[in-house]
Amino acid sequence: MPTLTFDAAGVTVDTPHGPKVVLEPTTLELTERRVGVVGANGSGKSTLARLVNGLVTATTGRVVVDGVDVSKDPSRVRRRVGFVFTDPAAQVVMPTCVEDVELSLRRHVKGATARRARAIEMLASFGLADLADTSVHALSGGQRQMLALAGVLAVEPSVVVADEPTTLLDLANTRRVGDVLLGLEQQLVLVTHDLDLARRCDRVLVVEDGRIRYDGAPDAAVDDYVASVEAREGAGL
């Protein structure tokens, strides 16, 4: 497994009301295959996830992916770290399924015929073989998220970061996408509100107000998260 290192990495942004700490300096060493991240809306989960592939840069400290400092060589890190977004509509940019996967492969497979063959293969492994020439607008939410996954995995990343990949999906599609993600041989950082998926990880981080509130075994972490939510409710917050 690659090693993801947060070395006192924190993010502060400028707002009209002055600087705001989005993520306090955080130190972590993630070597598990499946790392879950849970926490309330606005707690800083996306910021944490985006630090891993340089979509957000640390304003203090640094993030290192397998020996490569994200802020020093972002394009090299991005080639290794795939990113899955909540809304696949923003991620899928070509008119048909096969063309979208081909777009990912542009730099990896030379020659239109070889590229098409590889793209079809990828689609088939995500159960989308019959939809190769279908317009991406005709897909269901679950199919579109699968297509986004195919596009991300086509370039063989060694780490996959998924930011609430099932939040827009129904139960069946949540399970389908979750099964694919949790079954990957690559390292996975999975931000999710689905506590069942979180429990299936190897390690879970609970984020609260820009800090890691709990870090440990999945069941204990999820229980801690639930307890913290209930405590806040009890306090009338």
Partner: protein, 204 residues
Amino acid sequence: MSTPQLVGSYQPGDSLVHRLPVGVKVSTLAVFSLCVVAVRSMPASWVFLALALGAALLARVSVTALARAARGVLLVAVVVAAFQWWLKGPDRAIETVVDLFALALVAVVLTATTPVNAMLDALVRWITPFRRLGAEPDRVALTVGLAVQAIPGTIAIAVETRDAARARGLERRPRAYLSPFVIRVVARAQETGDALAARGLGDD
């Protein structure tokens, strides 16, 4: 969710038009469009329309794709025709409408018979010789692809924000749907930029 589509998407097939090289198709489209715009004569317009229909038949473009394209230009055609009628008389108005439909038809024939990736590849080939002048083929191709793809997405957002305003009984207040529309289009553009960066596209 069904999204209205302006640009007909690719329909696989093995017609003569499908098998023509992309370069031939794109340059024919360019020359044809120039002729349609430049030649001012009623009989010529009907000939252009007939040629466009012939190409559509030859390419076996589906009737629904044609109907969708026709519907897409209908509104523009009616407005333009009204102006032409008022300024130049009925002959000119009819000629303009016929020209518009001919142009829409050939555009559909091109997009229905040519995968966008093939067009992008051709574009990259054509631009590559100009690399020394500072052109970046991959970036240009990606930009064109995105522009094509942004149209249906933007229409979908427009439809959704209008429906949301309607649901609140605010359809007569343009601000009720214009501001969320603009915000969502900008947000979508930003997300798409992030997604492209995450896929390692366009950053070298």
